[in-house]
Symmetry: C2
Subunit: 269 residues, 2 copies
Amino acid sequence: MTHVIVLGNEKGGSGKSTTAMHLIVALLKSGKKVGAVDLDLRQGSLTRYLENRRKFSEIKGKELIFPEMVKVEPSSLDSRAESQKKETENLKNALKTLGECDFAVIDCPGANTHLSRLAHLHADTIVTPLNDSFVDFDLLAKVDPETGKVVGPSLYSEMVWDARKHRAMMGDRSGIDWVVMRNRLSATRARNKKNMGDKLDELSSRIGFRLARGFGDRVIYRELFPIGLTLLDLGGVDSPVRLSTMSHVTARLEIRSLVAALNLPAGEE
Amino acid sequence: MTHVIVLGNEKGGSGKSTTAMHLIVALLKSGKKVGAVDLDLRQGSLTRYLENRRKFSEIKGKELIFPEMVKVEPSSLDSRAESQKKETENLKNALKTLGECDFAVIDCPGANTHLSRLAHLHADTIVTPLNDSFVDFDLLAKVDPETGKVVGPSLYSEMVWDARKHRAMMGDRSGIDWVVMRNRLSATRARNKKNMGDKLDELSSRIGFRLARGFGDRVIYRELFPIGLTLLDLGGVDSPVRLSTMSHVTARLEIRSLVAALNLPAGEE
Ligand SMILES: Nc1ncnc2c1ncn2[C@@H]1O[C@H](COP(=O)(O)OP(=O)(O)OP(=O)(O)O)[C@@H](O)[C@H]1O
Ligand SMILES: Nc1ncnc2c1ncn2[C@@H]1O[C@H](COP(=O)(O)OP(=O)(O)OP(=O)(O)O)[C@@H](O)[C@H]1O
Ligand SMILES: [Mg+2]
Ligand SMILES: [Mg+2]
């Protein structure tokens, strides 16, 4: 049974593609078979990251570990209803192709597209990265500016709950495990960071997600994009980047903690 | 003649709404009449920022300066062609309503929507904030991973050039001034930051934008969102946030430098 992990957050630039890539490589390194689906059909950051990886491994003659990538074609039919039908079929086929994988990691765009909603419907685990900012938080929940209290869920929480509701309606008893992870955390102890932390704690039980510590804002999470590598690929004698900084060591711990926090099935050993 | 400033970048989370808000308040504070249009119809971060501002000024009984906000209704007709026709009309009417303003600031979504393309077509100045990351850069231009050379323009550059081309086809001799600004710059001197700087310099003459220094990654740019204020609103005796940190002083300079870099018309005095 392929365990589907969806990177979801309607808010752009929250870190979905970055987290998707690092999760994919972490799971591959732990010996799992991993499939990858990029539903950001236009920008395709994850696709680009993996293409860069492919080129780098060819140019350098280095063996690198790859997920099984499956394309999902967009539909540009004039009728929204018709093109959504076609896309539903395309995603179903993509997931069938990945039926032999332990995990299928689906990267969603920062928008409420039909394919993104569909992916959420198929998710066993939804991972939602979140910038340390109330601008980002605003898509999870509305906050009363006067009292600072959470007033109610917002657009993206509704998207996740629609997926949970539809699953229940279809008779599916397995719930969706929703994990929100803080991303691009600054090293400093700003009041804003504490406020965000408090609000997230308050919100998690209320709208049903678990909170994972997440990633700091570290150059190592983005500087290897042009060559398609992640921190986890480094460490060999011929590593293109010096590995010994504190930031790199902490980043490795962050990635490992995230995988642990996701409580993923051990799969067939 | 209303000078139209469009915040554009198809890449999500690059800082469009944040920059839009700070530009709006800076221009208002300099005595200009400013209109605001939020084309991110679903997420509406700019709309939310201004609603929070409205609520805060009512609750605290404080006088705050506001832009003239105009709504542009989305269309959810099933036919893409029909709904695009309706949206084109809605945006034209919105701009007509703002005809008395010195400036109209239009915030675009992090997606290639029809309204976003339309806004680019109407722009006198396009301001494109950009995270210090090749993941973001990838939407401006493709880079050869082996040589590090810029290979050609990418999706968002094409969007800007489509707007420039259409304007020329319609006989409009006034060009669009395209300014790319670096955003969320870290204080450190990372190699990644220098590489990005070099690539941007290389790219600017090649694809026709000017490069503005931009903003550092500073909590002050985001922590006042819940109360709808910006750094520029602070400084009174009853200021809710202590104003004297180095980061705040530098942020003020950054905002002022951005406005200066935009070379905006002085307007009627
Ligand atoms: N932990 C991190 N440390 C440093 N930079 C990061 C981190 N996470 C993400 N980034 C950078 O932040 C930007 C946004 O990240 P990313 O593209 O992964 O977000 P996204 O949610 O996939 O965006 P979109 O909605 O556009 O698909 C990118 O420039 C990326 O390199
Ligand atoms: N200079 C900055 N310093 C600190 N935080 C920033 C800065 N610029 C933007 N941010 C934060 O980064 C995130 C993305 O910014 P913002 O929402 O303005 O981007 P956007 O381009 O409008 O995104 P979208 O594509 O979703 O509309 C927000 O959480 C915002 O608070
Ligand atoms: Mg992405
Ligand atoms: Mg925005």
